[in-house]
Point group: C2
Chain length 587, copies 2
């Protein structure tokens, strides 16, 4: 090794040892004949010291020629520091330099290599290798490594086998858009990159692998957003001879293990909520349960506390629903106006907001006092189980649409009230998803999860009767802090039922056979009952890291146009390559 | 769980417990009113028992309707067996069935699901999910999981961080052919799939990651052979602030750990051999050192024991070189003829073979007695350090060509003499590879390893003088049993040297900048000395599994045409897909 120690390990016990350190120059101070250099590597920072008159002139000259981020090697004895630095682990000591050499000089970096940098997003992505030098970014990737490591530890202990499934597979029309790869050896034909190893893991169950997992890259050629990347990583799992309950317990165990090992948090038992209740009480299939603030219906299927008072807006609405914001009765007019503006934003889409202040003195004041008496409003307050000081925020409209609007408002209020701290974690299983959803545009049914998801046995009658919208699936999502972290289902393992599903989804027999014939065949040769799930690994890491952006947890991410601006990819390729592949571009 | 136990865990201690087992029917015997069913899963086989008159008629009827590979569930008490089976772990007990149900019937499989199957390669690949049910195939993938697990264990303990590098990268002209992926969002442009994460791991060193690894899929669009797959897996590693010696020791440590954990073998220290000596003594840069049988030169740079005796073949040859096959002096004429035929095969390409029998009685008899006296032959025998009973096998011709021929013959003799047992392991570091090799066809120099490999400092003069063929690289291969399992190098980390290398390789400044500008830039911002290596993971697994074929260690391999015959991929894709990608096929 070019070094005897790294920059994070010297302590008082090393005093008087002669050591050689290597690393990057973080900072240099040259004052009163003394020079101090902070030398950095992945493991920490160690202070080097040179002294006019004592250190050799050669070393002093080299030290004075150094710039930030130079790569150097330094040798000398470890000495105790006079003024200790308790902010760094090596702060009790410094190295009194006897010799110094430059391993590689460095140009001035285009942005500061510090925890707080002056570099904007674009420049940091172009020089990602410099951005990765910064502690917070490197810490994210170290966290990622730990999450992977503890995931494997848990699954290995539970007799899961990691099996690598192929990356060059076959394009399928269902689901998101595939990336494709032209085959040179089979001209005119294409591989596809997997959106997930779904069918392969099911085949592994047919093979009797019993418990499979894989931490695996997946690919989707979709338009990108902040939290989407064209290539992303999944923790992909499958088990045989199980029921839904077994899966929930097994992977609640994984979550518990990760929280304990990675964050030092003892996770309580994860509550469960049906999809129907999640929509009813939170207007979302991934409610943020770090805070309560459940929806209360003033007018709906079970109650009506608003009609017949000449308030047209509510009278014409199918649903009047709201939330109670604790302690917000004192909001100023301006604050309430902000909320009204918030719900009217196109992303939310509400027409207006009705507010009711339940003041601390017990009085009630609403924005619809023209229509409703204090007696009416008292009933509302009672329905909300509100306390003095609460502000009721009420939206109206039609069913799921208004629920989704109120979900946005609820999350906004959670943020305003400081209830969405990224250091707090709240996990939830959402269960009993609908099996199918109707695509109005396409005029056909789509699988909500994927075509291999099993209907609940008690809902099989609806499959026969054609009430497809009523069929619930044995499907489940793990939601943490309002983020869908994982999801899965019990699978269909009977050939006839799978064929029926393809039929419902509008596949002709021929199409089903062409696309998934191998799976249908496999089901004829002894397929066990099985099910599984997949976690979004990038997202899981970002949650543990307390960030909204998965990009921060990917070493070399792509931008919103799918470009890697560092290596400048994608790029044009040579005509010779295109000719060999027997394709041409039509741009 | 649908079962209380798996099929590998019941013991005498479980007797009298009522258990439920699930699995596949391996075998049924119905004899004298008794029915025995061997129930199989990944964990083992358990015997189920039913008895006419005691077991319910319903269960008996179901049992009699079962076929091989049916998936069933069976419940009943565990009882001690009268005649125990010591070949299986559960052989002391059986389960006395009270109820039995069919979870999924199975068609008769197209080949026997037994350790020895009657299925040919093609049918087994088409029904790979059935082939994977067979114990030896499943064991291979379990071994693969273990090798990965212990690799991670070792590298994690050594402070390596696993970092995922991108799969959608940029096509580069150097090296093998890339698979490419058209970009929909950037029409006319393409990603490439990585042949290795080489440049990314070097950038991670520039980022200060210090120790990186990744078990990662790589891709090469090359014509396929038995031991090549278009997608394969590497254990990819890189370290900073190290010299070659550090890498050799670190990864010898990994090899030692794997041999111990996976095979229970204590690996001795791995010897080293220069490339020059490997070629001189074994005619190969990956000698099989499970056996000695080193080359001996009768005529070469240092000696000439053959010239001037009117034997034209030897007189006109630049090199006369042979091996001594222990105890083969007694080979029959037929056996010797076989060897002559062997060396004349087009794959070997020799013109003929000269043999010398050093008989046990001390007499010497050769196929060239016409030209050489016993006195001459005695000198040969002495040069070979041969013992009575040995057979000398001698080839002649020009330099490396004849050495490669003799390498083939040596391996053949090793096999014939039983010296290449796959249960024996011999590891070797081959070091000091040439940096560059000349491509006669292309009329230019190529990097033997890759363009980022560092020349030995003492050979830098040849880079200036233009004696490119003389430059040795800080490059090394790990060879096990004659198979190149891993290889790597110390990298260039200085911008100027890297630019010089690209120049030698015939890159224009512009090309170098276009292809590797980001790396050259990175070298300006403080790149540390670094180096690394990669192991061929599939090959490593096949070695540990005692097989020549990497395919046996890949769950879903492709055939020699790059096809997955199970899922029928690659395949044609829809015109709509091509249109969106702005490409068209020209087949």
């Amino acid at each position: 090794m070019l070094r005897t120690h790294n920059n994070g390990e010297l302590r008082l016990a090393n005093v008087n040892q002669t050591v050689t350190l290597c690393g990057w120059v973080q900072r240099i101070r040259d004052k009163g004949g003394m020079i101090w250099i902070d030398l950095r590597d992945r493991y920490g920072i160690t202070q080097l010291m040179l002294e006019e008159g004592k250190t050799s002139k050669e070393a002093l000259d080299i030290a004075r020629s150094l710039g930030r981020e130079f790569v150097i090697s330094a040798t000398g004895p470890v000495v105790e520091r006079l003024s200790k630095n308790d902010k760094i682990a090596t702060g009790d000591v410094e190295v009194k330099i006897e010799s110094l050499s430059i391993l590689n000089p460095a140009k001035l970096p285009p942005f500061l290599i510090e925890d707080e940098t002056d570099g904007g997003d674009d420049i940091r992505m172009k020089y990602r290798y410099l951005d990765l030098r910064r502690n917070p970014v490197r810490a994210n990737l170290q966290l990622r490594h730990q999450v992977a490591r503890f995931t494997r530890q848990y699954l290995d202990d539970q007799s899961f086998i990691e099996v690598e499934t192929p990356v060059l597979i076959k394009s399928t029309p269902e689901g998101a858009r595939d990336f494709v790869v032209p085959s040179r050896m089979n001209p005119g034909e294409f591989y596809a990159l997997p959106q997930s190893p779904q069918t392969f893991k099911q085949l592994l169950m047919v093979s009797g692998f019993d418990r499979y997992y894989q931490i695996v890259k997946c690919f989707r050629d979709e338009d990108l957003r902040a939290d989407r990347q064209p290539e992303f990583t999944q923790i992909d799992c499958e088990m045989s001879f199980i029921e839904q309950e077994d899966i929930l317990q097994m992977f609640e165990g994984l979550a518990r293990h990760l929280f304990k090992q990675v964050k030092g948090i003892d996770l309580e038992s994860v509550p469960r909520m049906t999809y129907a209740n999640a929509m009813k009480y939170y207007g979302s299939d991934k409610p943020d349960t770090r805070f309560e603030m459940k929806f209360v219906e003033l007018k709906g299927e079970e109650s009506d506390l608003t009609s017949g008072k000449d308030f047209q807006v509510f009278d014409s609405a199918g649903l009047v629903v709201g939330i109670a914001a604790k302690g917000c009765a004192e909001y100023t007019r301006k604050q309430v106006d902000e909320l009204t503006d918030f719900v009217k934003r196109p992303q939310v889409g509400a027409k207006g907001l009705v507010t009711v202040r339940y003041n601390t003195d017990g009085s009630i004041k609403s924005s619809v006092d023209k229509f409703y008496t204090e007696e009416d409003l008292k009933k509302w307050v009672a329905a909300f189980d509100a306390e003095p000081g609460d502000l009721l925020l009420i939206l109206s409209g039609e069913g799921d649409k208004v629920r989704k609007q109120l979900n946005e408002l609820r999350l906004e209020m959670g943020s305003r009230l400081g209830l969405r701290n990224s250091d707090n974690y709240s996990c939830l299983w959402v269960v009993d998803f609908p099996l199918l959803e109707y695509g109005e545009e396409e005029n056909r049914w789509f699988a909500m999860h994927h075509p291999f998801t099993s209907p609940k046995p008690e809902d099989l009658g609806y499959l026969e009767s054609g009430d497809f919208g009523k069929i619930r699936a044995n499907a489940y999502d793990l939601v943490i802090n309002g983020v869908e972290v994982g999801g899965g289902s019990i699978r269909i393992f009977q050939k006839d039922l799978q064929a029926k599903m393809f039929e419902v989804l509008g596949f002709s027999d021929e199409e089903a056979k062409h696309q998934f014939g191998f799976l249908m065949d496999a089901f004829e040769y002894g397929a066990p009952p099985h099910g599984g799930l997949a976690f979004g690994f990038d997202r899981l890491c970002s949650l543990f890291g307390g960030s909204d952006s998965i990009r921060d947890f990917i070493a070399f991410p792509k931008n919103n146009s799918g470009r890697d601006v560092m290596i400048d990819s994608p790029s044009a390729i040579a005509d010779a390559q295109l000719n060999e592949l027997k394709i041409k571009t039509t741009v």
